[in-house]
Symmetry: C2
Subunit: 129 residues, 2 copies
DNA sequence: CGGTATCCCAAAAGATACTG
DNA sequence: CAGTATCTTTTGGGATACCG
């Protein structure tokens, strides 16, 4: 039996619904489980930022990747886009409540990285010989 | 100032060390923050599995991607590879303690997905019009 | 300033075939 | 069965140019 990303959704009745839920869960999963998305979420976790500020915060991200990922976050309701109709335009991005909740889990991954930093470093040295 | 993945590592003294730590942290981060790696970790969280079992558990993964990700997990000390010298060969993979710890955080992401399933679904519908 | 579109190269990933 | 190697295709992502 395959791994069920949505194995906790006990409220869903039949197999067909479960499949639908699982397929969406996987989709969200692979949207969000990428380096740029997670780094953007980390950055927005601190405070609301405008496009150009985000470009500076998320080191090495290109214009294109930033817009692409911001659209994705917006589409999934994780970030909110607020346009100030000024000249020049000013666009601000904020995490929504679901976004903040996700951010908390991302923080845990960061915490994990710190905790096992040494383990990983030495495991690598062993493996690379 | 750029986002620091390793912002919690207060034990490190000077800026140069902090940079090294941050660069490794990012590396680990992008190794681990990918769909296949996370799904493999989820699967191995349940129990020890052999290669062919993993191929069935992790739906849609190719032979190549599976070996590639397993090597990566092994290299980082997250999974252990045990070869039984039989004919035909039997190779089993198990999560190490760091791997189990990471798995716990992946579970939280799964939990998050379930919790905000509805939010995300409706956010998408709104956006896609 | 922020966003879209285009072009283009490099990396990711699938398919296939071969080995211990 | 598990793993490696090779080939091909698809995607990711950088650079550039242009619009509101």
């Amino acid at each position: 039996m395959p791994v069920r990303v949505s194995k906790g959704l006990s409220s869903l009745s039949d197999e067909a619904d479960l499949r639908r839920a699982d397929s969406l869960a996987r989709e969200i999963f692979s949207d969000v489980a990428n380096k740029w998305a997670l780094l953007i979420i980390e950055a927005l976790g601190e405070r609301t930022l405008r496009f150009s500020e985000l470009r500076n915060e998320v080191e090495g991200i290109s214009h294109k990747m930033l817009t692409q990922n911001l659209r994705m976050l917006e589409r999934n309701g994780l970030a909110e886009r607020k346009v100030h109709p000024t000249v020049p335009p000013r666009v601000e991005y904020t995490l929504t409540e679901p976004g903040q909740a996700l951010r908390a889990t991302v923080d845990l991954i960061c915490g994990w990285t710190h905790e096992y930093f040494g383990h990983i470093e030495s495991a690598r040295r062993r493996f690379d010989t």
